[in-house]
Amino acid sequence: MINLPDTVFVLIAGMMLIAAAGAVWLKNVFYNALCLIACLFGVACLFIYLNAEFLAVMQVIIYIGAIAVAILFVIMLSHPMARRHAERSGATLARSAVLAGALFALLAKAVLSAAWVRGSSGGDSTRAIGRALLGESVLPFEIVSVVLLAAIIGALVISRNR
């Protein structure tokens, strides 16, 4: 029997992981950024599965709408595609693959060997986030806003054309 939510979940997760693999594997940086957008969209879909509608919308607006587009702009400005691609070293690829595979095996073993409990985020998660941001976690919220301001000013100062 085919269970529709599970089928869609597997499709989304598979698409997201394939897009993530493309985002690190493909040689062309522009394709990397496009795959990153697909991967971020898959993560947003998974957020909807986890009852985090607000975060899914924020993921699409901030990550895809701002961060990924900024990365695309920098790729256009520095046009790395016009250059000759350097040859890949097989040894580096093999070492990285072994590192990533070992890390995944370790994490999967740790995940499967413990009894995790899924967080209960029932009800209106947007309201809960709003209450938390202005209630118990108001201090990190304010610090993050100062960090963002500092980052904006820092980026302006760093990339100013002298």
């Binding site: 992981l17 690190v24 986890l50 924020m58 990365i71 790729i75 790395p80 999967a108 980052a151």
Partner: protein, 95 residues
């Protein structure tokens, strides 16, 4: 139910993290390294949401925006200085 079990989310985010680490170790292009960092941050935020801490994911998104903002301006500056965004050619500070 695969889509209701927390283990499937944890495995997916572990795979995302491993892919990000692979990109971090294998690529030499600074923009590609930044993209791999984004994958790692997303796997962390997926984990947080799966455990029910949605407020943390908001902070992760905000800090990722700040990090990308600074990182991209540094990449542009580097590109202006040495006309390359490959990490093995940025070696003026090396020994």
């Amino acid at each position: 139910m695969i889509s209701q079990s927390i283990y499937s989310y944890l495995i997916v985010s572990s795979a995302l993290f491993a892919i990000g680490v692979f990109g971090l170790a294998a690529r030499r292009n600074l923009v590609a390294i930044l993209i791999s960092l984004e994958l790692i941050l997303n796997s962390a935020s997926l984990n947080f949401v799966a455990f029910g801490f949605q407020t943390f994911a908001v902070f992760i998104i905000a800090l990722a925006a700040a990090e990308v903002c600074i990182g991209l301006s540094l990449i542009l500056l580097l590109h202006r200085h040495i006309d390359s965004i490959r990490i093995d050619q940025a070696r003026e500070l090396k020994g």
